[in-house]
């Protein structure tokens, strides 16, 4: 059983105007995110990488095909169960860090664990440990508005790892950072994923970053083609 399995995923968008044909973004895509391995998807802008990631995370529904998270089909779950599955098994990191503006860095990191109903003290201890590991011990009581872009992204990584999810879904996590910060965040993300034994599904157009992963796929002409696979 894989943390994420995409089975024959097709995604079509309705035409903007009447009479025009539907636009196919993804066609019959199969992908297994293997436990403990990192997988990158590269491709040109507009190729459907982010759409694929949203479908893999249960944020969007495919036009046809199935998305299994630890063997459970997202389509069969109601809002509460789908939220719970996302909360426990998936961590998200996006280009725009999507932190809660009124929460401190520490509270942002604690949020997923608090949502799942864990004890506040346990949440705090784990969040502090993660923030310290990423060099944010001095910044944990700052709100996102007072943090730099690199710091915000590191907070987002901590948040994604907070609940010890089976898989991290990352969409251009370094896209908004300068070269130095981007390189830092790349290394931190990959190191943490390996240390914590998580799977990573990364979407990026940064080939250097992608090829640091165990598996690399190219999304081209609505299909995935393997570029690098780990035996």
């Amino acid at each position: 059983m894989h943390p994420i399995e995409l089975l024959s995923i097709t995604k079509r968008f309705k035409a903007a105007e009447k009479g025009e044909e539907e636009i196919t973004i993804l066609k019959d895509i199969d992908l297994n995110v293997v436990s403990g391995q990192s997988t990158a998807i590269i491709g040109k802008s507009g190729s459907g990488k982010s759409t694929l990631l949203h479908i893999a995370g249960g944020l969007d529904s495919p036009s046809s095909g199935k998305v299994l998270c630890n063997g459970t089909d997202f389509a069969t779950l109601d809002d509460r169960k789908r939220s719970m599955l996302r909360n426990k098994h998936i961590g998200f990191i996006f280009q725009a860090n999507l932190l809660l503006e009124d929460f401190t860095a520490l509270e942002n990191v604690m949020a997923p664990a608090m949502i799942s109903g864990q004890k506040e003290k346990d949440c705090r201890d784990r969040a502090i440990q993660l923030l310290e590991r990423l060099g944010l011990a001095e910044r944990m009581n700052h709100i996102p508005g007072k943090l730099s872009g690199g710091e915000k992204q590191r907070v987002a990584i901590c948040r994604a790892l907070m609940n010890r999810p089976d898989v991290i879904l990352a969409d251009e996590p370094t896209g908004a950072l300068d070269e130095e910060n981007a390189s830092d965040v790349e290394n931190i993300l990959l190191d943490l994923v390996r240390e914590e034994g998580r799977s990573l599904l990364l979407v990026t157009h940064n080939q250097d970053f992608a090829f640091k992963c165990d598996n690399v796929y190219m999304l081209k002409n609505h299909s995935l083609n393997p570029e690098k696979t780990k035996k």
């Binding site: 949203h54 944020l59 509460r80 719970m84 909360n87 998200f92 109903g117």
Partner: protein, 395 residues
């Protein structure tokens, strides 16, 4: 409570005073409502007391003299039920001064009539000049004295309206030896007091005489029990039966005030729903983010509900406290307004003890909380349509 719900709700409540306007509005609605309830209830209680203590007593027994009451009726009543029982003769008269006329109710009372309880409701100014004439004394109200332009020591002509239609109208001369004021001019200008024996001379019919009974404070809310003990020989009536229109006016006024206040509360409750709706509109991104990290719609709604409901509750409590503070000081405020020449206040009782209608306040508060509860829940239904994917479609 889920720790995240608690934290998020707290963040929202304290966030840049966004919900402050809601708190202030609810407080500003509740304060006058509580004040209006205190004013109307205290005023009605005050006026009722004036009618009871100066006009009719708690209970009245018709056509019986005091000695008969004391010997036959009183022994059947449990000790501690009756505070006082006084023989009273009542009739009507036209009162003339050199400059005016007034129609009044003459009450013949003995010296013991103005006991401690009655004296709490009325104050007297007495004529200190000794009189050598045989003209009888009368006590009139300050309102009547003003109307007839007379004062202590002045004389008045009373045209006695006979209790028997066969008798003829006859005038008598009286001297004003006391002027009283109860604070409620509407009632004061209807009554004047004469000595009981003289009133009985003027109104000789037995039907003009009755026993005015005041019950002890423990039985004031349970007049029926006293009535039951007394009523086996003679008819017993309550003050409300003698003043049906006044009593029904009070009942109707109370109901109307409560209905109007409830309507105001409904509007305020729906305002809280619109605040909730606006909050959801402002927080679409934040809600989508929270849903992205695994919060269910129920959790999102619960947090938003707690934020708005807590502020509504706080506003309500603040409003009640403000209303109680202002309401408890209504006497001085009304006196000040009256002294500033607000003529309409002369129709009200300005000096009354404050009664806090806790039951009505509880009803109003419960309505506010219940209607806001439902209205906010309906308003929060919108959160269901906010999905994490909105984060990316709106970026």
């Amino acid at each position: 409570m889920n720790p995240f719900v608690r934290l998020w709700s707290l963040k929202r409540i304290t966030k840049r005073g966004r919900l402050t306007s809601c708190l202030i509005l609810i407080a500003l609605v509740m304060a006058p409502l509580v004040c209006a309830l205190i004013f109307s209830d205290s005023m009605m209680e005050g006026i009722t007391s004036k009618y009871i203590y100066l006009s009719d007593g708690h209970l009245q027994m018709e056509g019986i003299r005091l000695d008969e009451f004391n010997s036959k009726v009183l022994p059947s009543v449990s000790p501690g039920m009756i505070y006082s029982a006084d023989e009273v003769t009542t009739g009507y008269a036209l009162m003339y001064s050199a400059t005016g006329t007034s129609s009044v109710m003459i009450k013949g009372v003995s010296d013991s009539y103005f006991n401690e309880l009655r004296m709490q409701q009325v104050s007297f100014d007495y004529n200190t000049e000794e009189s050598t004439s045989s003209i009888r004394s009368i006590s009139i109200s300050a309102a009547t004295a003003k109307k007839l332009q007379v004062g202590l020591g002045d004389r008045l002509a009373l045209m006695i309206v006979p209790d028997n239609p066969d008798k003829v109208l006859r005038p008598v001369l009286v001297r004003i030896d006391a002027i009283f004021r109860s604070g409620y001019d509407q009632l004061d200008e209807l009554i004047c007091f004469l000595d009981l024996s003289y009133a009985q001379e003027l109104y000789a019919e037995k039907s003009s005489t009755s026993i005015e009974i005041l019950v002890t404070p423990e039985y004031m809310e349970n007049l029926g029990a006293v009535e039951e003990k007394l009523g086996w020989t003679h008819d017993v009536t309550e003050w409300s039966e003698h003043n049906v229109s006044v009593y029904e006016n009070f009942v109707t006024s109370r109901q109307m005030i409560l209905i109007i206040l409830l309507l105001v509360v409904v509007v305020a409750a729906f305002y809280t729903a619109s605040v909730a709706q606006q909050m959801i509109q402002d927080d679409i991104q934040e809600i989508a983010m929270v849903k992205l990290i695994g919060a269910s719609d129920t959790l999102v709604r619960r947090s938003a509900f707690i934020s708005v409901y807590t502020v509504t509750l706080a506003g309500m409590v603040l409003g009640i406290i403000l209303g109680l503070i202002i309401g408890s000081n209504l006497g001085p405020i009304l006196s000040l307004l009256s002294s500033m020449g607000l003529d309409s206040l002369t129709f009200y009782l300005l000096d009354f003890s404050i009664t806090v209608p806790w039951l009505y306040i509880a009803v109003i508060s419960a309505c506010l909380m219940l209607i806001s509860f439902i209205a906010i829940q309906i308003a929060l239904g919108k959160t269901r349509r906010i999905t994490p994917i909105r984060l990316f479609t709106s970026l």
